[in-house]
Symmetry: C2
Subunit: 173 residues, 2 copies
């Protein structure tokens, strides 16, 4: 078994032998795996017309909230780590594609509420199933036991990195 990182580490061992490359064996692979998975999942989303990278994130964020699949732009922006200006652009795109719509917020006349249209609900539900299927295919070589092990360690790592889930971003949903 010789992946991309194996070669990297070999290079550094030759060029900078005093460098401790043990962390690279983990971090390098994590980054590499993340890139490949993200790329493959983006391709799946694109098959559902979601060729703009962050669009699926917005749709799934709304979908995950449950009916009536509605949220303010500000809170959506926080959820996907975007400025409100950036969210305006994204929502314009999604609204033009008829996947979301805006309506005035009845409880705050400064604001608006964004909600999934019927089309948007259909697209996100279909896309999500395809995404999950692709995820399953991507990690198909890992046994149930290995999955539990790696998920546990990554969870520990995320927690140690301060990840609490207040801000839910990307990562398919």
């Amino acid at each position: 078994m010789s992946d991309y990182v194996t070669g990297l580490v070999a290079d550094w061992a030759r060029e900078r032998p005093e460098l401790d490359t043990s962390s690279m064996e983990v971090v390098g692979r994590l980054l590499r795996v993340g890139q490949i998975l993200q790329h493959r999942l983006d391709a799946v989303a694109a098959r559902y017309g979601l060729s703009h990278k962050g669009d699926l994130d917005v749709l799934t964020a709304l979908r995950r909230m449950g009916p009536p699949y509605e949220q303010t732009p500000s809170r959506l922006a926080k959820g996907v780590q975007l400025t409100t200006g950036g969210m305006t652009n994204r929502l314009d795109r999604l609204e033009a594609a008829n996947l979301v719509a805006r309506r005035p917020d009845p409880s705050d006349r400064r604001g608006v509420l964004v909600y999934l249209t019927d089309d948007g609900q259909r697209v996100v539900d279909n896309a999500l199933e395809a995404i999950v299927a692709e995820q399953e295919a991507l990690i198909g070589t890992l046994s149930a036991r290995e999955r539990a092990t790696i998920a546990g360690m990554l969870g520990q790592l995320l927690t140690s990195l301060g990840d609490r889930g207040e801000e839910r971003v990307g990562a398919v949903g």
Copy 2:
């Protein structure tokens, strides 16, 4: 322990209970960890003046080759998955920063060779040490045994995804 993905999965269990979210426990965490690590490492690179995302990749690619730290733009572009046009832009930036320089390729008068300047060698060597230190800090909570386990599983995963290391990209080096 409750990270970002824990909340995600709980949302989907409520909204789409028939969906098998087990792959998301792994893939979601891999993506999330990758994002966080990349972000933190980018910040370290920025401290060395490498605020443009792909710049460190080019410098490390040259550094890893050993003296005289030299390569053609085409091969560099392949190594970091970039078009030659994109590489021209990057090299212009790096050359303006006096980190690399170009000279005519003596063996092919169509081409040029890019090499690390003395400044470039200093910067990449210093940045690399800082990157490795940051990596160590980031995964500090994992024991040696856990690191070996996760590195092994990720290597298996990368191999199954077709990663062979012909094209060495990003991922710190």
